[in-house]
Structure formats: structure tokens, C-alpha cells
Symmetry: C2
Amino acid sequence: MKKEAQLFKSLADETRLKMFWLLMNRDELCVCDIMGVLGITQSKASRHLRYLFHLGWVTDRREGVWMNYRLSVAPGSPEDKQLKLLGEILSSLPEAQALRDRLEHWLATKGQSHDGAAACQCC
Amino acid sequence: MKKEAQLFKSLADETRLKMFWLLMNRDELCVCDIMGVLGITQSKASRHLRYLFHLGWVTDRREGVWMNYRLSVAPGSPEDKQLKLLGEILSSLPEAQALRDRLEHWLATKGQSHDGAAACQCC
DNA sequence: ATCTAATAACCGGATAACCGGATGTTGTCA
DNA sequence: TGACAACATCCGGTTATCCGGTTATTAGAT
């Protein structure tokens, strides 16, 4: 059951939970979007996304200078069911709803200057 | 989402996963049963069970000298759904099936001497 | 080629998780 | 009351995880 414990380990971090949530709400996001929405360092964002990548939760797609990530689990697999349940659990949380709003706002204002933290140049 | 990360943290340990599995297959078990079936130390068994107890996953019931634990989550709650999914995921694993057999055998031979590891006197 | 932005990988350091063995607690029975 | 079994907790040691800061890599633009 080592593999199953590993599965839950990947969900046992608040930052990664938020990333899952963002990716459920928008099918593709680049590292800088996640940095911006969650207000975390580049190092932290990239590290966790790579972690999810190596475990097969997400795929990457390079688009010029940006690296995009999207959820990718086999339909019907345990991971898929787990993700659906996670989405169901999170969707009732005000905190998650606020995060979704933040994501919408972030994407809507791409290209304009973002305040707080070091705003990346890609947006 | 701290609470949700915590939820997954409790599932992110192979020993605890096995405990959940055993408790799903038998509605009440004492510490010594779990020690015996999993082949772990008393310290380890008790520690993890207390951990689950403090998080509300299980309730305890003293029966003389034995402490029995049973799963206890509110029906329909996220924990309940998660547990059901976990059961579904584990049930297809040969490893889990073997564990269930071991549990049956252990309970069936209660009162007789158990080989391997320090056999507890309660059985 | 060179510069720069975006991202990944690396590097200690801090913290938390896990473990076995020892010790404390509780309940039973003689 | 004393001995003992089941269990909980404490102790310290080891390992895993997470983090920010730094350094490498990659791709586009000049």
C-alpha cells in the first residue's frame, strides 16, 4: 500500500491542495499564474508543480518561455476518483471560492501590472 | 484548507492506511489485534490509533483491560466519503486482500498461541 | 553571440513525522 | 495489597518534508 500512501501524501500539503483546486478550475495554468494567485515564491510554485509532475498528476506543455501545467489522470482511475472527491469537498469552502475568484481576477487582468510581490513580466 | 490537508495527512501513512482497512473489515478491534495482524510494536500501534482518535476518525471503548477502537465518521461527511473511496481503492489490491485474510485468521485463532513477534496474552 | 524573463534544480537549515525502547497508568485477579 | 497484562505516553534518534535563497537551464528577442 506504499503507492496509496504516496497518493495521499501528495494531497497532504495545503499549497498543493490549492494548486489542485486552481487546476480544476482552469484547465491549464503557467507557473507564474500560480505564483501570482497564491502569492508564493517562484521556487515554491515550481517545486510543488514538478513534484506533482513526477507523480503523474499533471502534464507539462512548454509554450515559448512559459511552462503550462494541466491535470492529467486516467479517467476512472483511483486518482481520478480522488480528484473528483477533492473537488467536491473543496467546492463548499468559502476559502476555495475566494481562491477561485482571485484566479478569475488574475486571469482577467493579465497584461496589466499586478501589485504585491514581484509581478512577473509575462503577464 | 488547512483542515483538509490535515485530513489527507492522516491518510498519508502506510501503517494508518492498513489500520483503516482493518477497521473497515471488522467494526471493532483492540490494540493487540492490530499489533498482531500488522506485526508492529505495541508502541507503534497505540500511537497511530491515538492519533486517529484525536482527529476524530475513531472512537475508543474500554473493555476491561482492552481498548477497542472503531471507525466513527458522520455519515455523508467528507471524511465518510473519503473513507468509502479509500475502501474502494484498497479492496482491489492483493496486498489488502491478504491483510484481510490475515485478520480473519488472527481472529479465528484467538486464544491459541500466536507465533512470531511477542504474542500478547490477551488472545 | 548576448541579454533577459521564466522556470528548474540545487543547497543548507528548520521543522515535523516516525520509530523502538523505556516508563507510567489503568484495570483485573488472586 | 501485589503482581501482571494491556495500553498510553515519554524520550532520543533518524529520516522525511518544506522552505527561501541561489544558481543553472531554456527560449525568445535584439
